[in-house]
Symmetry: C2
Subunit: 428 residues, 2 copies
């Protein structure tokens, strides 16, 4: 069974220190683990989850009952639930990560220098990754698998409402690791619901190299405010589509409609549409009709509402900074590309920005000058996603510029060190 579960937790601080030391020790073994051992562990975990479905569902039942009696709302209870389909999803995810190429140990850019040494880089794990997340227990398996494949030890701290589910998944992970000859401590799930554990995790740079919070903006801001460890943050997505005066109208219609309506609650959904004023009268009414058909509320600038009439809600200044995550769209007319890029620089959240245009120079300027984790030409913002980009899987989307930017896959969980090969070379 889980090592963590064997520890007595009356002193949370000592417990977390112990957990951190075990993770640090395990990280050395994991950094040196063969690709075969890591893949075997991932398949073992998948097999273990598969054969212990009943246990898993029973543990999850405890969480669901406790949640229901605490009065959690239906949406939260739904996210918390583990059923056979969701267990299938976890298993499938583990096997997909096993099938991805191993990034660790890759050597590149080896060049000889005038001194005679040969210098290059080797991709290495970050070390110990701390994951802090909320109610969905499948994150336990997904996050552990990505960290394991990238050679990192992991300390996972899930939401208290998923405690029993997470501990059951942890059991499968640790059995899978040991069966593959890897240390069980390579993945540890914090076995206390004491919130002090989170404060401790983000202030243990000696044991944890990076924190990845997965959850709402509130969680992430709280963690960032107290962290003494680097945090890969995903704050929010205020994404724009700019329809240029040289846009192909059909492409613009398709992209604008898809970027807003393909899903409403995702961070890469467009929240504000910017339209060049010279084409707005021709372009906007047809598009607005399509939005209204789908019950999307339109909040327009003065000019937009003049074109669209009384069904258009006048936008307030706050609308330009809003992440609606809902069937609401703000629309603003701009006089040119520069005004569009100024608007994005002021109101965007560095997430995903798209231009629709057939004009080569405008496309090129937009790609170069817009500061965001994903910048697109003639494509829906909804494509900003690890799977769509071919990363295989993602542990999150970073809205930071430091280290990893945009969808974070295996490579975002690694670092590179310099390697130097000589033949007894000394510096003159």
């Amino acid at each position: 069974m889980s090592h963590a579960a064997n520890l007595k937790i009356d002193d949370v601080s000592a417990y977390m220190r112990e957990l951190g030391q075990r993770a640090r020790a395990a990280s050395r073994a994991l950094a040196a683990a063969t690709t075969a051992a890591k893949n075997e562990a991932l398949h073992n975990i998948a097999d273990d989850l598969d054969t212990r479905r009943a246990e898993l569902i029973a543990a999850n039942r405890k969480d669901l009952d406790a949640g229901a009696s605490k009065g959690l709302d239906a949406a939260l209870l739904d996210r918390l639930e583990l059923n056979n389909a969701r267990i299938d999803g976890m298993i499938e995810g583990l096997r997909q990560i096993a099938a991805l190429p191993d990034p660790i140990g890759a050597i590149f850019d080896m060049n000889f220098r005038p001194s005679g040494i040969q210098v290059g880089r080797m991709r290495v794990p970050l070390g110990v990754v701390g994951i802090i997340y909320e109610s969905r227990p499948n994150v336990t398996a997904d996050a552990a698998a990505l960290c394991l494949k990238s050679g990192n030890a992991t300390v996972l701290r899930g939401g208290s409402e998923a405690f029993h589910s997470n501990q059951a998944i942890a059991g499968s992970i640790q059995r899978g690791l040991e069966l593959a000859g890897l240390p069980a401590d390579a993945v540890q799930v914090v076995a206390t619901t004491d919130r002090a554990a989170v404060d401790l995790m983000v202030t243990m740079p000696e044991s944890i190299d990076v924190i990845i919070p997965r959850g709402g903006k509130g969680l992430i801001e709280r963690i960032s405010a107290s962290a003494r460890v680097p945090v890969i943050k995903h704050l929010h997505g205020v994404c724009h589509v700019y329809v240029d005066d040289e846009a192909d109208p059909q492409k613009a219609f398709n992209v604008a409609l898809n970027a807003k309506t393909q899903r409403y609650g995702t961070c890469n959904t467009m929240e504000t549409l910017l339209v060049n004023e010279t084409i707005a009268e021709d372009f906007l009414p047809g598009l607005a009709a399509a939005y209204w058909d789908r019950d999307v509320e339109l909040r327009g600038c003065e000019q937009t509402c003049r074109i669209l009439g009384s069904d258009c809600v006048p936008a307030t200044p706050a609308d330009w900074d809003e992440e609606y995550l809902a069937p609401i769209l703000s629309i603003r007319l701009v006089s040119d590309l520069d005004e569009a890029m100024d608007h994005i620089a002021r109101h965007g959240s560095l997430h995903t920005e798209s231009i629709v245009t057939e004009n080569y120079s405008n496309a090129r300027r937009f790609l170069r000058e817009v500061d965001a984790s994903s910048v697109m030409v003639n494509a829906s913002t909804r494509f900003a996603d690890g799977f769509e980009y071919g990363l295989g899987a993602e542990i999150g989307i970073s809205t930071d510029k430091f280290h990893a930017r945009g969808p974070v896959g295996l490579e975002g969980l690694t670092s590179v060190k310099f390697i130097v090969l000589g033949d007894g070379h000394i510096r003159q």
Copy 2:
């Protein structure tokens, strides 16, 4: 003249906020600046420094006089001094950075995905870089030049003892920028010696994207402790050379001697020598004689001192963690590669580690398993350096794993964003 100098500074907090906002605004122009404009600015700055040597030396005289009357020691006064040779050095550095390839805007890894979109990466600036440094005024020109070339705006905060020198250099930088049509605010030197400015700089994530402290361990620890902005840290270097039982004795002798004695005060100097016990009796006495010839104090483990006799100082446990930065070396015998790597994992500072061996498998394991920013085979640790590695110049050496590791050149001052090219593509 310098914008900063035009500001009244009775409210440091308002002043720093204003500085930060100007930097943020300038960073957009700089991110979009052409390679030609950036290089022209670098040459302009070099020309301006060249023609204003007298002004520069006069400003530096003020700092030197103030320093002398404050009783600064000779070493500090020496670091503070700007003479013609040092001004030549700054000018040469600026022209070298102009000659380096521009990393910004480079596009790579563009691949088509099954959906039809083409996804790749573009190298982009980090945004605004804050540099906090101590007495050497040439850092003002070096750091500004690296940030400028990599498309970042910069806020520089030098030591109070170099105040007038730094302001004079800032004048040259800002004239050089404006002459090239770039915003003077792209490089701002904080025009107050109030230490509150440092505390403010490290807590303005809305204006500053990353802090690079250049100075002693004390400065860096103080900054890291209060920073709310990512910090590229260079803490210290406890570097090892491990002489394997299958080392070529002549290579081992050369590397061990060079790694310790080529310079004593640098972070990539070896501080502890690990020797396989099976070769120690043959190998150590000759090497020890060479060290003693150079007045290097040897502090050995029990076995080492048994071999080397009474001139060997018995090492205490504290010696294994010490960065001497002096002609002192600790020596420890180990039974095998694993014990050597265990010692390094326990006592190393993740900086630079080298193995001397002719054994293929040991070399390969050391390269893969040792966690440090530079890992070497048969080469002196003294090679760990941006120039030696071909980075052209370095803004520092990172002992962090996150973002940049080891010598940080232009690329370490950049990030990559995803770019997506479509033809009206929407997500299904």
